[in-house]
């Protein structure tokens, strides 16, 4: 196994130091390190962060390998600085059995570009009717701890209560896609001025807020852990703030796109901006940013959602919702938060690793820590070209935007997955 000596690198924003990576761990940290057998990487001007962890990734395999595979999605993740991703369950077949989650987990191991942690479905076929075999998935080789029907809301309050209670037996967590289905029938975009002008059916903020309000009360009642996926509205932030103040065991994520883009993007009718939950207003964006800074929102999660060209090169109403995120998330975080490296590490690595129970991840580079880390050049600026992305799909909303920061290298257990800004394999 090759050793790597990274010189003069700022670890999570601290003064420059050297990092020696050997045998899968950070062997030494300090100035003036030397290791004649090691490959030297000049870290001058670079920042080392614990490898990023994504709580919300769609890898599309099995079922839509034309849009993404575990391998292509893993490569996109590595290119984005990630060392672990949690793969959502809405594949075909749905990841609602031990067999499917083990298949995804095994494909992740074979690709070995990031750790792929499967998420299990809460209900059979995401149909919202009967609980899937949550315990079997937890006991499988994939050791599933997060369960989600993402893409669909667990709308039935009784079913949601049971799910929250049931997973306590194996310290599981329910990640809810908060969307009241009756309030969003046919919904195409945020309900507001722009939807009225464009004649597109609105997705009202209250459809998200009502479910979050209900779920935090349910979680409080049964004393369970709840995770809220892709929070998108100012009202949801307030519901979460109050719940956290009461001590409810709730965590929440926000996507990069909800931190940067607004519903006005729909004016083009280009479905590359169609996503669920939809892009909201500037007021919502501001509330999400401040909630991310003050901790009401715990995590940035990408909701990386690759789609084949034909599912986006069409009428808005017929397009599938979702956008790519893995390869641009850190740049968006840097753009939105500035060089607040400790905050970025907290929101994009340590906290998501803790929520997902991924013990080898989210640990700052220090002697003895697993060498899961990424090197960022914060001074670089890059223009996003869809064709250059590692993802198999092209549906990035940031096409031709110039964003700050570039991932120079990513290490998974001491092995580089990205070097010189290029995927190693």
């Amino acid at each position: 196994m090759t050793a790597y000596l990274i010189t003069s690198v700022s670890v999570v924003g601290a003064a420059p130091t050297d990092l020696l990576i050997r045998d899968g761990v950070v062997a030494e940290v300090g100035t003036g390190l030397s290791a004649p057998d090691a490959t030297v990487i000049d870290g001058t001007g670079l920042v080392a962060l614990p490898g990023l962890v994504d709580l919300h990734t769609h890898l599309r395999e099995p079922g839509r390998e034309d849009a993404e595979t575990v391998e292509s999605g893993s490569r996109a993740a590595a290119m984005g600085g990630y060392t672990a991703v949690c793969a959502m369950a809405n594949t075909s077949p749905v990841a609602d059995t031990a067999g499917v989650v083990e298949q995804v987990w095994r494909l992740g191991r074979e690709a070995s570009l990031v750790d792929v942690q499967p998420i299990g479905a809460v209900t059979i076929g995401l149909a919202g009717e009967r609980l899937a075999e949550l315990g079997a998935m937890a006991d499988s080789a994939a050791r599933v701890r997060i369960f989600s029907d993402d893409g669909h809301c667990v709308a039935d309050p009784l079913l949601m209560r049971r799910a929250l209670e049931y997973v306590k037996a194996f310290d599981g967590i329910i990640a809810q896609h908060a969307e009241e289905p009756r309030l969003t029938e046919g919904a195409q975009m945020h309900e507001g001025e722009v939807s009225t002008r464009l004649g597109l059916i609105g997705w009202p903020a209250v459809a998200e807020e009502a479910i979050i309000a209900r779920d935090v009360l349910l979680a409080e009642h049964v004393g369970s852990r709840l995770h809220v996926c892709h929070v998108s509205t100012a009202g949801s932030v307030e519901v979460l703030r109050q719940a956290k103040a009461r001590g409810v065991r709730v965590t929440a994520e926000v996507t990069p796109h909800h931190l940067l883009l607004t519903d006005e993007r729909a004016e083009s009718y280009d479905p590359v901006f169609k996503v669920n939950p939809p892009l909201r207003t500037a007021t919502d964006v501001a509330a999400l940013r401040s909630a991310l800074a003050d901790g009401v929102i715990d995590v940035i999660a990408t909701d990386h959602a690759p789609h084949a060209v034909e599912d986006k090169e069409c009428e808005w109403a017929y397009a599938r919702p979702g956008m790519l995120g893995l390869e641009t998330a850190l740049s968006i975080a840097l753009d939105v938060l500035g060089p607040e490296w400790d905050l970025i590490a907290e929101r994009m690595s340590r906290t998501p690793a803790r929520i997902a129970g991924l013990t080898g991840h989210g640990v700052d580079p220090a002697p003895g820590a697993p060498a899961n880390l990424t090197l960022i050049d914060p001074a670089a600026r890059r223009t996003i070209e869809p064709a250059e992305l590692a993802s198999r799909s092209r549906n990035t909303p940031y096409a031709r935007m110039t964003l700050p920061g570039r991932i120079v290298a990513t290490f998974l257990r001491g092995e580089p997955t990205v070097l010189d800004g290029k995927a190693v394999k």
């Binding site: 195409q188 309900e191 507001g192 001025e193 722009v194 939807s195 009225t196 002008r197 464009l198 004649g199 597109l200 059916i201 609105g202 083009s268 009718y269 280009d270 034909e310 090169e313 069409c314 009428e315 808005w316 109403a317 017929y318």
Partner: protein, 308 residues
């Protein structure tokens, strides 16, 4: 000069007025023995209709033919569209056929905007989903101007299912541009959120038809589908008609000169009674006639020169 007509908001006051003036000249052709002008000889106009709308399709077809354009009707029925060809692939086909203009009717809002990205020719929105129908707004404006002599300063009530109405959106945009004042009237469930901010500042909203009627020059009744009551937009057709339908007694509350409009097709007995629809105040038949002249003017404006 504009290349596409996708929205009532694409037109500034000068361009809209030019279309109405041109339409007035085009209207004289309808009175002639030879209802034909050579202006668009050699141009190809494709009517691409993804929804059944015989009225709108034949209006555009008559308009294009009177200007001597070649017309190709491409309807979703009996074409490759039903076999699942994408809009983009259809666009490439039309492009290969050399379409100079594509007149598109589509159930999805924004489909004409997408199409405009994929073809070199002009795109005319002939109604997209619950979004817009700009030539309907133009023919409505033409009809108002013809009957009342002006548009600036007119007070226009648009009544009914504004939420799902492409006619209402285009009318609010165009009439505001031309200086008319629009009041949207309907049950709150059928008035979309933030309508004034979304379309035109100064647009009023009222839930009380009777209070609006005495002060308007024009009342435009929108088609209301009975099925909306299944989605709880209103309790029953009877209650809707009682609160928002235009009947004889309500019509008599209008000022003497006021006119009654309807884009058709009407639900007689729902939003309008036969007595009103067939009264001298009703412009419903004129609207159809004016539709051809206005669409001739639009096609001439878009295709009559080298506006590329």
């Amino acid at each position: 000069m504009i290349k596409h007509l996708l929205s009532g908001g694409d037109l500034d006051a000068d361009t809209a007025t030019e279309i109405l003036d041109t339409a007035a000249e085009m209207a004289t052709v309808a009175g002639r023995e030879i209802k034909k002008l050579p202006a668009l000889r050699g141009r190809t106009v494709v009517n691409l209709f993804y929804e059944d709308s015989t009225r709108t399709r034949i209006s555009f077809e008559a308009a294009a033919k009177r200007l001597s354009a070649d017309v190709i009707n491409f309807s979703a029925k009996g074409s490759s569209v039903t076999k699942g060809e994408s809009l983009k692939d259809t666009a490439l086909t039309l492009q290969a056929m050399g379409a100079d203009a594509v007149v598109v009717r589509h159930p999805a809002s924004g489909a004409p905007h997408r199409l405009a990205n994929w073809v070199d020719g002009s795109v005319v929105n002939a109604g997209d989903g619950t979004h817009e129908h700009p030539t309907q707004a133009l023919l409505d404006a033409y009809t108002m101007r013809a009957r009342l002599g002006r548009l600036a300063g007119l007070s226009v009530a648009v009544v009914g299912d504004v939420l799902h109405s492409r006619v209402a959106r285009s009318n609010v945009l165009l009439l505001s541009t031309l200086g008319a004042k629009v009041t949207l009237v309907g049950p709150p469930t059928l008035i979309p959120v933030d309508i004034a901010g979304a379309l035109a500042p100064g647009t009023d909203v009222s839930y009380d038809l009777d209070s609006v009627l005495p002060n308007v020059d024009v009342v435009m009744m929108l088609r209301v589908q009975r099925e909306r009551m299944n989605d709880s937009y209103f309790p029953s057709a009877r209650e809707y008609a009682r609160r928002y339908g235009l009947d004889g007694p309500r019509m008599r509350r209008l000022p003497e000169h006021a006119i009654v409009m309807h884009p058709g097709p009407m639900n007689r007995g729902m939003e309008i009674t036969p007595e009103v629809a067939d009264s001298p105040r009703s412009t419903i038949v004129e609207q159809v006639t004016n539709g051809v002249s206005v669409r001739m003017a639009v096609l001439y404006l878009l295709l009559g020169g080298n506006n590329r």
